[in-house]
């Protein structure tokens, strides 16, 4: 087995550092803490980048019993996810250096923050389902402290809710893994799936199993029947945490589904079966319902969380269509949504950090007070709504196109409709903040207004993320090409 | 004819005469005589048993000069000899164990009477075991009854006398039925000697005449003996009789008297009527039902009982149920199991009675279940004895009760018909019930009582040194239990050979 040091470091260095930060009694002084955490994060990110750059690498780490094995394997898809994560994670970390001032127990926060990065890397690079599941569980457990960070009662309750929902999902997945272990050729991820030859007469059973797994990962991705935890859990976390949570962590559910459907089971197995239909239905319901709830929500972070619910289901919808174009859309949306949503959350965080205002209707004239922030916010939301040339447009275009050409009855036209409606809703729930922010109306007292622009440490990440969310939409071709290569191997 | 063949006759006579002699002896001498006699007879029966095992088979002993059809006979086989030996051992131990209590409870003038009664009891038991003549059996049944009645009422307070009266009434009903049955048998067959009766009964069966009278006769005899040995529905007299008489009496009554009747019943089954005919007449099924219900109801009433002596008494109702259930199976295995249970139960039950008395003594004489708290610490020997007895009753391996339970179960499993499952289930259930009331008591006596309570209630502690005789008795009892439990193979062998020679 070729022993790839970078891979090891990328995964285990952050974990080790995180544990050290947690248990090392020193690090009393804030700057020292920030320094250490940032340094360790940076180093591990370099390793990760090295891996990403190198491209192909695999590593059989250890065999813990029977067919159970921790096995890492870097493939293009993993690279994409890893890259996105790395970037956003870095931004959020910089942001939190400032933001976390007004939270307590930063030691724990940063410790886990670094730790989770390692876990996510492991998820991106994991080469078989067992490894994926292992780190998936670990992710659930390690993100928990981030959610429960301020120990308010609701935070703890939200944390428990998160825990139990995610475990519920994880166990559904595990249920599936048990069966795939028997009937699938192998649990290793092979592009296009190894098929279910062994399944023989158990196709009905297999369908149930696959559906359960979709549901299971769907929990993390906030898909309809099991989405309730997301709007509760994400907002209570500190803003940077909720940014990465709803920008990246939820994507791990998506990644899981992709891995199962396109890398183990193979899309052909469920194409045209009731599983696909059910899945599509669920995603569409989620898309619509998520936007509706977001529209009706008054607390800003909650509103963003609901929007996450619906946006992730865009991605899932694209996957469920099981055709290349739609899938391109989905993967694009993965990338874009990561940048956009984290940007939105961060700006919301900035607002809270400066003004302490959480409800939307308090934000009249906020644009006057902190223009840069709100401009970033505006660009990001435009991207999310899908105004060309901002990024969201591209992905939605592919999604719509894919669904139209997929030729699945009803859904082929119902899909785009729903997408459009929810895009309108998105505009409806995001833009008012900008508008009211910059145009507070006549009765706003301009005397009382003072500038509350946050310091550069907070602004720069915002700018970068906002910029990314626009630019990626303007020059998407390299990304699209790369994704097309990946997808080419899957169908 | 070998000299050893005189043993049965002489042992009967010896005990009877010792009884007569004791009437003019003072208490102590009577006591010594009684002990000696029991020892001698026990030794003799052991000798006889060994001889019989060596030579195999059995022999009949003609009394007087009249040959078989007219004269009176004694018959001895391995089973009889073994039974006699066992009865002697148990009786000896019960006497020893209860001796101290006897001195406390019975006034001095009555002591020699007590020993007279014991001797008579022994002789009648031996006669029941050995006799080959039905009417003799009847006479000795009556003697047995009278002696038992005396043993019950020797401790003269209202309770015991009342108990004695109840006992008398029930057993007189029983013996009345028995007598009637015997007379009808005589009427049917014209014989009184078991072997002859058997022949002519076989003839009758072959001829196919007198079916109903025969069944009625068997029924009369069986019911009569069942009443006397306190089979379930006829057990009303038992708790008082066992519960209030002095401990030796209780031990002997529960482990010897009733067993004597049961043994007589077995003899009648095998040697008088013939086992196949018995099974043919549906009598065993009735016994089976009564046995099963006895196993359950005896235990249940024991659970409700708050008086420890009465509790043990009720438990022997349940155990007798076991025995009759074995009869009721109507197979040789069942019979073997029953006979083994006769031994096991006798050993265990007398142990329980004797140790229970030790426990009640140190609890200011109170027999109430709740006053026994911690008594096992006040009288360790009794505590151990009681625990062993309880475990054996519950059927923990290594103790006698387990083996008999195993045998019963095996007999049931080997049983061809539908009796299998009910038996097994009832066995298990009754085990649970036994566990409930016995182990409840064991736990209770091992939960220490507070010092001040003990002081105020006037409890005291009894060291093993202060009660040597008692201690030795208990130890011997326990040993018997263990022997029955762990080396049961030869004993069962003896029983089986004995049953074979019975026919």
């Amino acid at each position: 087995m070729n022993f790839n040091i970078w891979l090891i470091l990328a995964v285990f260095l952050p974990i080790a550092c995180g544990v050290l930060i947690l248990f090392f009694p020193g690090l009393k002084k804030r700057n020292l803490l920030l320094g250490v955490s940032f340094l360790s994060l940076a180093v591990s990110m370099l390793c990760a980048l090295a891996v990403i750059a190198e491209g192909k690498a695999e590593l059989h780490l250890l065999q813990f019993g029977g067919s159970l094995e921790v096995y890492f394997h870097v493939d293009p898809l993993g690279r994409v996810f890893a890259a996105v994560i790395t970037v956003v994670w870095l931004m959020a970390d910089i942001f939190s250096c400032e933001y976390m001032k007004h939270e307590k127990e930063e030691k724990r926060y940063f410790g886990f923050y670094v730790l989770v990065y390692g876990v996510l890397m492991a998820l991106c690079f994991s080469g078989n389902l067992v490894t994926y599941y292992m780190f998936y569980e670990m992710m659930t457990l390690t993100t928990l402290p981030l959610i429960m960070h301020n120990k308010s009662r609701e935070a703890i309750m939200a944390g428990l809710k998160y825990l139990f929902y995610s475990l519920c999902g994880a166990y559904l997945v595990l249920f599936g893994i048990y069966f795939l272990n028997r009937y699938a050729g192998t649990l290793d991820f092979t592009a296009g799936g190894s098929g279910l030859e062994a399944a023989g007469g158990h196709s009905a059973l297999m369908l149930v199993v696959v559906f359960l797994m979709i549901l299971g990962f769907g929990v993390k991705a906030g898909m309809f029947p099991m989405h309730a935890w997301l709007p509760t859990a994400h907002p209570v976390a500190p803003a940077p945490a909720s940014a990465v949570l709803s920008g990246l962590v939820v994507k791990m559910g998506v990644l899981g589904i992709v891995r199962v459907i396109f890398y183990v089971v193979g899309p052909e197995v469920i194409r045209g079966t009731w599983v696909q239909t059910a899945w599509l239905t669920l995603t569409l319901i989620t898309v619509f319902m998520g936007s509706m709830l977001a529209y009706r929500e008054k607390v800003m972070k909650k509103r963003l969380a609901y929007s996450t619910v619906s946006q992730i289901s865009y991605i899932l919808f694209g996957l469920a269509l099981l055709n290349p174009e739609a899938m391109t859309g989905s993967l694009l949306h993965v990338v874009f949504h990561a940048c956009v949503k984290s940007c939105l959350f961060l700006s919301a965080g900035a607002v809270i950090y400066k003004t302490g205002k959480t409800r939307v209707d308090e934000l009249t004239g906020i644009g006057k007070e902190m223009p840069v922030t709100i401009w970033c916010y505006t660009f990001a939301s435009l991207a999310l709504v899908g105004i060309p040339p901002a990024s969201g447009f591209i992905s939605k275009w592919y999604l719509a196109g894919g669904s139209l050409e997929s030729g699945i009855p009803v859904f082929s036209w119902l899909g785009p409709v729903v997408l459009l409606v929810s895009a309108l809703l998105t505009a409806g729930y995001l833009l008012p903040i900008t508008i009211r922010g910059f145009l507070p109306g006549a009765d706003y007292d301009y005397e009382g207004l003072q500038k509350k622009e946050p310091s550069g440490v907070m602004v720069i990440p915002l700018l970068i993320l906002a910029g990314l969310s626009v630019l990626l939409g303007t020059f998407p071709n390299p990304l699209i090409h790369y994704l097309n290569e990946i997808i080419g191997t899957l169908f | 004819m070998a000299f050893v063949q005189n043993v049965p006759f002489f042992s009967i006579m010896l005990s009877m005469f010792s009884g007569i002699v004791s009437s003019i002896l003072p208490g102590k001498a009577a006591k010594r005589l009684n002990t000696a006699v029991i020892l001698v007879i026990g030794a003799a029966s052991a000798w006889l048993l060994s001889w019989l095992m060596r030579t195999g088979g059995s022999f009949t002993f003609m009394m007087g000069h009249f040959p078989a059809p007219w004269g009176n006979e004694i018959r001895a086989g391995a089973l009889e000899a073994g039974m006699a030996l066992f009865f002697c051992v148990i009786m000896l131990l019960s006497m020893l164990g209860g001796r101290k209590k006897l001195f406390d409870e019975v006034e001095v003038t009555k002591h020699n009477i007590y020993y007279i009664l014991t001797d008579l009891l022994l002789s009648s038991l031996l006669a029941l075991v050995y006799t080959n003549d039905l009417f003799t059996a009847y006479v000795f049944v009556e003697i047995n009854t009278i002696a038992a009645c005396g043993l019950i009422m020797i401790r003269q307070n209202g309770r015991t006398i009342e108990a004695a009266v109840r006992y008398m009434i029930m057993s007189l009903l029983g013996s009345g039925l028995l007598l009637m049955g015997i007379c009808m048998l005589y009427d049917l067959t014209g014989h009184l000697l078991m072997s002859n009766i058997k022949e002519s009964v076989a003839a009758i069966m072959a001829a196919g005449t007198y079916q109903i009278p025969l069944t009625i006769t068997i029924g009369l005899v069986t019911v009569g003996l069942a009443i006397k040995s306190a089979l379930f529905p006829f057990h009303a007299w038992l708790p008082d009789a066992y519960g209030y008489s002095t401990v030796s009496s209780a031990a002997m009554l529960s482990s010897l008297v009733s067993k004597g009747y049961i043994f007589l019943l077995i003899k009648i089954f095998y040697r008088v009527v013939g086992f196949d005919i018995i099974v043919g007449s549906k009598i065993p099924n009735v016994l089976f039902l009564f046995g099963l219900s006895g196993m359950i109801f005896g235990s249940i009433s024991a659970i409700w009982e708050k008086d420890i002596r009465r509790m043990i008494a009720f438990s022997s109702v349940a155990q007798i149920g076991y025995i009759y259930m074995g009869f009721g199976l109507g197979t040789t295995e069942g019979m073997v199991a029953s006979i083994f249970h006769i031994l096991a139960h006798a050993a265990t039950k007398s142990l329980l009675f004797v140790s229970a008395i030790g426990l009640t003594d140190v609890s200011a004489g109170s027999r109430n279940f709740f006053d026994l708290t911690g008594s096992a610490y006040r009288n360790k020997v009794a505590g151990v004895g009681f625990s062993v007895g309880a475990m054996s009753m519950v059927g923990i391996p290594l103790f006698s009760g387990f083996v008999s339970k195993l045998l019963f179960a095996e007999a049931a499993v080997m049983h061809p018909t539908h009796k299998m499952m009910p038996t097994l289930i009832v066995l298990a259930v009754s085990t649970i019930l036994n566990a409930i009331y016995f182990l409840k008591t064991v736990v209770r006596i091992y939960v220490p009582e507070k010092r001040e309570v003990e002081a105020e209630k006037g409890y005291f502690t009894m060291k093993a040194g202060q009660q040597r005789l008692y201690t030795i008795t208990i130890i011997l009892f326990i040993l018997i239990n263990l022997v029955l439990g762990m080396m049961s193979e030869p004993i069962i062998g003896t029983i089986e050979t004995g049953l074979i020679h019975f026919i």
Partner: protein, 125 residues
């Protein structure tokens, strides 16, 4: 044919009826004395039964008066022997019962057994 068997066995029938009466008395009567009487009736019934069994029409008791004659002259002696033994037994038993009764009566001034036991319960011995 029922009736036909009835008449020749009249004695046995009577014995049985008596036995039943005695049994019932011994079992059911409250009064101890009556119980004892019942007991005696029961025993007597049995003796009657035995006597009838032993009796042979037109023969004399097996007591030698004028020289031993051939067997046909005598009735069957064994039942008579049994009756004698039985009488002895029943006498002794009756005596015992009576003595017990006397004792109980001295203590409790009643012959009702249930009454006595209820009092014992009160005494709580």
């Amino acid at each position: 044919m029922f009736g036909s068997n009835l008449l020749p066995n009249l004695g046995e029938v009577v014995a049985m009826i008596l036995f039943g009466i005695g049994f019932a008395n011994l079992l059911l009567q409250k009064n101890l004395i009556k119980k004892i009487i019942g007991l005696n009736i029961m025993d007597t019934a049995v003796y009657l039964f035995l006597a009838i069994k032993g009796y042979i029409e037109g023969r004399s008791a097996p007591i030698v008066v004028d020289g031993v004659q051939e067997v046909e002259a005598y009735i069957n002696p064994i039942p008579s022997g049994l009756v004698l033994t039985g009488i002895v037994v029943s006498v002794s038993v009756t005596a015992l019962m009576l003595s017990l009764t006397v004792r109980l009566y001295k203590r409790y001034h009643t012959l009702d057994l249930d009454e006595i036991s209820s009092r014992l319960k009160k005494e709580g011995i």
